[in-house]
């Protein structure tokens, strides 16, 4: 491994500082005893963490975001598998169009999607419902799920499936015992990336969520419109803590690089 020169080292330090600074500042401010966003602060207090307990809608919004992310990502991955296998293996009319269609949510501004979904869901009676949120989130996370599922489907050696067939496996057995286990790392990465995007989404969701179906980012967004107290920073600090804990657990259990890069079981 080659060593970094002083210039590269300085650049990396700057870059990491730039990336981490906002997170650190938010966490710091969360511990203020003041009634407003103050930084730097001389005294420490858990006041704003206790304050979360007085706003149960933040806690319920957190769980809603978690379920919404988990569910919409799982459905997006489930839809991605047959699509990815078809795109990776076969040349058929409409293949390019299908790929573009699945990827198109990446290119449409979320605010446009938000207005469109608001109109559409109101029309069909799904306005402000959790089902509506799930459907809209499936659309925006699908490109992430498909991208990584596709990468692992393309990397799959067809001969491995042919070998299973020659040994007497039916198509269903090949899918269950060979194909799915081999693309599983890609599915896990796709799900993780989709989940992160769903959990983070506010621009579109703010249009389609109603009181009672607000996600955490939407709840926070609406809160800071009316308040200037540091409650959102303590909520943010909690989310950051949970994220870091989850990353540590995943890294220990599975290897973070594998998860986010989507490497296969045999390192391919």
């Amino acid at each position: 491994m080659s060593k970094n020169g002083p210039l590269a080292l300085a650049y990396h330090t700057l870059f990491v500082t730039f990336m981490l600074a906002p997170i650190l500042v938010v966490c710091w401010v969360a511990f203020t005893p003041e009634g407003f966003l103050s930084f730097p602060t001389d005294n420490w207090s858990l006041r704003w963490f206790y304050a979360i307990a007085r706003y149960p809608e933040f806690v319920s919004a957190f769980w809603r975001s978690l379920w919404l992310g988990a569910l919409s990502s799982a459905i997006a991955v489930a839809v991605s598998v047959p699509a990815a296998l078809a795109i990776a293996r076969y040349r058929f009319p409409g293949r390019e169009a299908m790929t573009t269609l699945f990827m198109s949510p990446l290119m449409i501004p979320h605010i446009v999607l938000g207005i469109a979904f608001l109109r559409f869901f109101t029309q069909i009676g799904l306005g402000g419902t959790f089902v509506g949120l799930v459907l809209a989130h499936i659309v925006i996370v699908l490109p992430f799920a498909l991208r990584l599922t596709l990468a692992s489907a393309i990397g799959l050696d067809r001969a491995i499936e042919h070998a299973a067939v020659s040994l007497g496996a039916s198509e269903w057995v090949v899918l269950r015992r060979i194909t799915l286990p081999l693309v599983l790392p890609g599915l896990a990465s796709g799900w993780a990336l989709a989940f992160i995007n769903s959990f983070d989404e506010v621009t579109m969701t703010v249009f389609i969520a109603a009181p009672g179906t607000e996600t955490l980012p939407v709840r926070m967004f609406l809160y800071i419109q009316d308040n200037i107290d540091p409650l959102v920073t303590s909520v943010s600090a909690c989310v950051i803590a949970i994220t870091v804990a989850a990353l540590v657990v995943m890294d220990r259990a599975y290897g973070l690089e594998k998860l986010l890069v989507g490497r296969g079981v045999d390192g391919r």
């Binding site: 001969a159 067939v165 040994l167 007497g168």
Partner: protein, 308 residues
């Protein structure tokens, strides 16, 4: 009746004729090599027997039954792929057991046959390993064991040794031949390596542009090639005064075709000569017996026995 019959087997990809009316009869227990350059149709032929490619025309019969009417999963063939195609998420034992599991063989019987077959390929101690923890040669043996354990009607080998280095390849050739003799499974090998085809098979099918140029025992095909293509593909040849003669059949003498040594290359067990003669450039291979050999620039005379 032959064990396996290919009857005017033809495959067209678009306008390209990949396999052009190939007919072949294979006896039970025979080791056949489909030999030819890339694009000659040998792999397509193998894939049609395996069922991964459907023929455009022609028939394949196994003991008189129409093989094309049977789904690939029901053909009972053992296949060793060029990339080995082992299941990376399963151990060696699980890989080998997979086919037996599909046949519904009971667990105890399964374990016994897996152990026997791993023993046969010399991997008895490796059952619990994963493919990625093994060398190329070992993975190759696992692939062979996985194909053999189901007691296949036919063993299909698709360039099985081409990913191994030269020394290991030679060892595996000897071993593969011994194993095939032991189990007696009818075997079809696809290869572009003429030495491998000749070393392993009972009969060679030399293929070119989708057709069989010659079908016969290796020695016969080498000594009496049916076409110039076969002669060239199976080894070095000289065309002297309208007749073809193998370089190792030519020897130095005091009289005969006169020439001058242009280059002399020492290759351990033999010498390779390029000699300028009135009939053109002649390649000569002489075994290294330890005697002093003509040097570059020397004038020599060449003699050879007329070909049979």
């Amino acid at each position: 009746m032959a064990f396996l019959t290919l009857d005017k087997l033809t495959k067209k990809f678009g306008t390209h004729l990949a396999v052009d009316g190939l007919s072949l009869e294979v006896e039970k227990g025979e080791f056949i090599a489909l030999l030819g350059p890339s694009g000659c149709g040998k792999t397509t032929t193998l894939q049609m027997i395996a069922g991964f490619v459907d023929p455009t025309a022609g028939a394949i019969r196994l003991e008189g039954r129409d093989l094309l009417a049977i789904k690939p999963a029901k053909r009972g063939l053992g296949i060793v792929f060029q990339s080995y195609a082992l299941f990376p998420h399963m151990t060696v034992a699980e890989n080998v057991a997979f086919g037996l599991e599909m046949q519904g063989v009971a667990a105890t019987e399964r374990a016994k046959r897996v152990a026997e077959t791993l023993e046969l390929v010399g991997l008895g101690a490796f059952a619990a390993r994963f493919p990625r923890q093994m060398s190329g040669g070992q993975q190759q043996r696992v692939a062979l064991a996985r194909a053999l354990v189901i007691r296949p009607n036919i063993l299909l080998l698709d360039e099985p040794l081409s990913n191994l280095d030269a020394k290991l390849r030679e060892e595996m050739q000897i071993e593969l031949r011994q194993i095939q003799r032991t189990v007696g499974t009818t075997t079809i090998l696809v290869t572009h390596d003429q030495a491998e085809a000749m070393a392993l098979s009972d009969r060679i099918v030399v293929m070119n542009q989708g057709r069989a140029e010659q079908i016969g025992p290796p020695h016969e095909a080498y000594e009496r090639p049916a076409t110039p293509f076969v002669a060239n593909f199976l080894g070095k040849t000289n065309l002297v005064n309208g007749t073809t003669v193998r370089p190792e059949k030519i020897s130095f003498s005091t009289s005969g075709l006169a020439g001058k040594v242009r280059t002399r290359i020492f290759q351990g067990n033999h010498w390779l000569y390029q000699i300028d003669t009135d009939s053109g450039l002649v390649t000569v291979i002489r075994q290294n017996t330890g005697e002093t050999m003509p040097a570059e620039g020397a004038v020599v005379h060449l003699v050879w026995a007329p070909s049979p």
